[in-house]
Amino acid sequence: MNDHSNSVSSSPGASGLYSAPTDVRMAHIAAGLKKRRAASKRLRFYGIMAIVTAIGFLCILLTTIISNGYTALQQTEVAVVIEVPAGEILDDAGAIDAEKSRNFNWAGLVKRSFRKEFPEVTGMLEQRSLGELLSANAGYDLRLQIEDAGVVPTGPVTYWVKASDDVDMLMKGRMDRTIDEKMRRIKDDQLVWFDKTVAKDNIRLVFNSTFFTMADSREPESAGVLGAIVGSALALIVTVVLALPLAVMAAVYLEYFAPPGRLTDFIEVNVNNLAAVPSIVFGLLGLAVFLGFFGMPRSAPLVGGMVLALMTLPTIIIATRASIRAVPSSIRDAALGLGASPMQTALDHILPLAAPGILTGTIIGIAQALGETAPLIMIGMVAFIVDVPTSFTDPATALPVQIFIWSDSAERAFYERSSLAIMVLLLFLISMNLAAVMLRRKFEKKW
């Protein structure tokens, strides 16, 4: 490194200057000074530009997602005047008969009623494309509304049912109606009917509660993230239950009981290396060992949680070791001096003092696990699942995997919904990280 420090003070011809008078030397230095200070300013400017670039990327990323996703908070509904034929749904006692209700053609009823609004539409094909303005699940919507109410009203009543995803996009201004008809998912005659519906004020945007109360669906307007959130939660419960105790035990061992030697070194190398193994490799491990060898169920949050636990383990071990080391040795010495055994010292004195740090590390590890997608895809949590999972072995998907699935779909409405799902995911991550920061602030001790 010596040659570098020499070159700092040596500029071309400098050696000849040593013999020159002081004022000549000073003049030479002053002449170069402006340039050198400019170079300094330039480096500082590059640094600022780099940071502006990085934070600029962050802003672009977030604004893109928010501007794409916020409209998914609303859902378009269409008013349809429907007369429900009570006789076909009620039993003899006048209550709704579940069996009859299930067999009743609700979708047909909704479509027939909707057609009455447009008496001018008569052709078979036209009537069909008119029906396409409503969600394919509009009938199911109506059935739920009526079953929830528990009574079948007599006479025509106005019901709000979901519009199809294309109408939804049109309503939110996300579809360009000026482009060529062949390129458009909504055809010209459908546009006319849509405008007529808007003119009659029979269409509205309401809060999209389906998104937060349902699981996945083929129809964007009926798809929600609840199933994915529950799947993620179940997997993360498994992760915490497995990873936290094991990691704390391993960290206590490495900090307090490990005899210096090859085995301990090897364990440490392994822990550090595991933290840098690509996540998809853990997925392969899960696939080959948990699914292939032990024959555990595919797509289950149990297996997902186990794979994530293996991934999170090194993170929590490293965090726990750091916070154990932060506890001053005076505590340890005092405990040992008063006759506590090494195990009692570790469990009764060091660990409670290190607990906030361990908790912070765990939350950060879990937040990482929550965002992890690739290993879950490997063990099959990428399936299309319409039910909210209720147990650790139910087939399930996870929030980031749901984003992946939706972003792969052709419908424009799924694009919007995956943006909103990303916002939900980021919200979870932000709150977890904030919790970690607050915990650290609250319990951080200066020894």
């Binding site: 640094g47 997602i65 035990m249 061992y253 392969l284 491990l285 293996l310 690739a374």
Partner: protein
């Protein structure tokens, strides 16, 4: 009966057993201390915990083994019976029959014929018997453990030492788990890769320049290709590896300048309060899940590059390596900036002071003294970042291509190792076809490459620490 053998009942029984063991042992030591007039070696609670451990731990281990062993054994027996009942069925249909049988036994579906109904009844019966046997065995094991511990409880007995020995051993086991996971990864990948290499030669795999494992999935050709199982597709990983490197290098080209200059600024120019704002903001970039970057790359960056290319008359693929690599670069910026910041601030202050004292400007100090001193650490950071980029999955799965083009043109579509692994292992493939096995061969290659990069990173950056300590 059903409740008696259920897991909930078992859990309650276990808890009860544990508490009873604790109380019995505590009672015994108390009475013996009084009776014999001596002090016990350990605190009373340790005797209780000791007995509870002897009651619960062996039973727990047995229950775990049982959970993994019992069902496969039963199903194997059922499959053997099915094979004799339907002698003409091929193996894959037999698996379907077995799955159907399980569903019938569980009561989800009705039996299609008498044979299946009888088999299902048999399976159901044996499952019930095994469940009952499990509960009884576990209870006996708990009982034996309890009795053993109970009779060892005596004032002279060192219960605390025994308990702490157990804890220490389990702590050790937890630490060894890290080694076991590594072994598990290597062994499982190697095992599957070995089966792959027994069908495809290693030379073809590592040096072949044509990669198209999916040809057999073309519609109509499936049956024909399955007939010549194993010969379908070609497995030369050179284009895949080249694509991986291309994307990773693009990512590094974005991340290294931005990350390094940010680190220089935060470490040497920024006032403390500015640093305290900038660093967490960069950390936010690191906290964003990769699937979000992938979403951004596929649906915002890729179309943007394509449009921009059209403006200047370039044909940019809609799955260009540029979009995937560029966005991956953004993801890696915080990784490089925080590692570099650590390395730069670790350069001893005396070096900086010496250079400044000799009249160097800030920039001269940084460029000619600090950075050269930090060089090994910086190289280590870049290698770690490279390893990250090579192993990154979601961005490339969502934004890079599937077809393996042998090219280094960033405007074209390339595929990567991780994309191929995901492609090959999603969907309903049979588990041991050459296609799925090739994913494990790619997996072990990926593991080895990232491992080498990590080791190299550790090796070069250790030099820095040695030099200035």
């Amino acid at each position: 009966m059903a409740f008696f053998t259920s897991n909930v009942a078992l859990l309650i029984t276990t808890l009860v057993f544990g508490i009873v063991a604790y109380m019995l042992a505590v009672g015994r030591i108390r009475s013996r201390v009084v009776a014999e007039g001596v002090k016990s070696h350990s605190l009373v609670k340790y005797y209780g915990v000791y007995a509870a451990l002897w009651t619960l731990v062996p039973a727990l281990i047995l229950a775990l083994i049982w959970a993994f062993a019992a069902d496969p054994l039963l199903l194997n027996a059922a499959e053997a019976r099915l094979a004799t009942a339907f002698p003409n069925l091929p193996a894959s249909f037999l698996d379907l029959k077995l799955a159907q049988l399980q569903n019938i036994a569980a009561g989800y579906i009705d039996a299609p014929d008498d044979i299946m109904a009888a088999e299902a009844a048999k399976l159901r019966g044996s499952m019930e018997r095994v469940a009952l046997a499990r509960v009884l065995t576990l209870m006996i094991v708990m009982m034996i453990g309890l009795l053993f511990a109970f009779f060892r409880v005596a004032p002279k007995f060192k219960a605390r030492v025994a308990f702490e020995g157990f804890l220490r051993r389990s702590f050790f086991a937890a630490a060894v788990l890290a080694i076991l996971i590594t072994i598990g990864i290597v062994a499982s990948l190697l095992f599957e890769a070995y089966r792959f290499f027994s069908e495809i030669s290693m030379i073809d795999f590592f040096f072949g320049t044509h990669w198209s494992p999916m040809v057999s999935l073309r519609e109509g050709a499936v049956a024909a290709d399955e007939a010549v199982a194993g010969s379908s597709g070609s497995f030369g990983m050179v284009p895949v590896m080249l694509g991986t490197l291309l994307v990773a290098v693009i990512a590094m080209l974005v991340a290294v300048p931005v990350g390094l200059f940010s680190a220089i600024y935060t470490a040497d120019f920024a006032p403390r309060h500015v640093r305290n704002i900038i660093k967490p903001l960069l950390e936010v970039l690191a906290g964003i899940p990769t699937v979000v970057y992938g979403f951004f790359a596929a649906l915002t960056a890729a179309p943007f590059f394509r449009e921009a290319g059209l403006l200047v008359g370039l044909d940019v693929s809609s799955q260009s390596a540029l979009a995937a690599g560029g966005v991956m670069g953004i993801m890696i910026i915080p990784f490089i900036s925080s590692l570099s910041d650590d390395v730069i601030t670790a350069v001893p202050k005396s070096l900086r002071d010496g250079a400044l004292g000799l009249g160097s400007t800030r920039a001269e100090t940084i460029m000619r003294v600090v950075l050269p001193a930090a060089f090994p650490g910086l190289v280590g950071a870049f290698l770690l970042a490279m390893s990250r980029a090579v192993g990154e999955t979601m961005i490339v799965v969502m934004a890079a291509g599937v077809a393996a083009n042998l090219t280094i043109n960033p405007l074209e579509s390339v595929t990567t190792v991780t994309v191929q692994i995901v492609m090959l292992l999603t969907g309903d493939n049979e588990f041991d076809s050459v296609k799925t096995l090739s994913a494990f061969a790619l997996g072990i290659t990926l593991f080895v490459v990232t491992l080498l990069l990590n080791i190299a990173a550790l090796h070069v950056s250790r030099k820095l620490g040695q030099r200035y300590e």
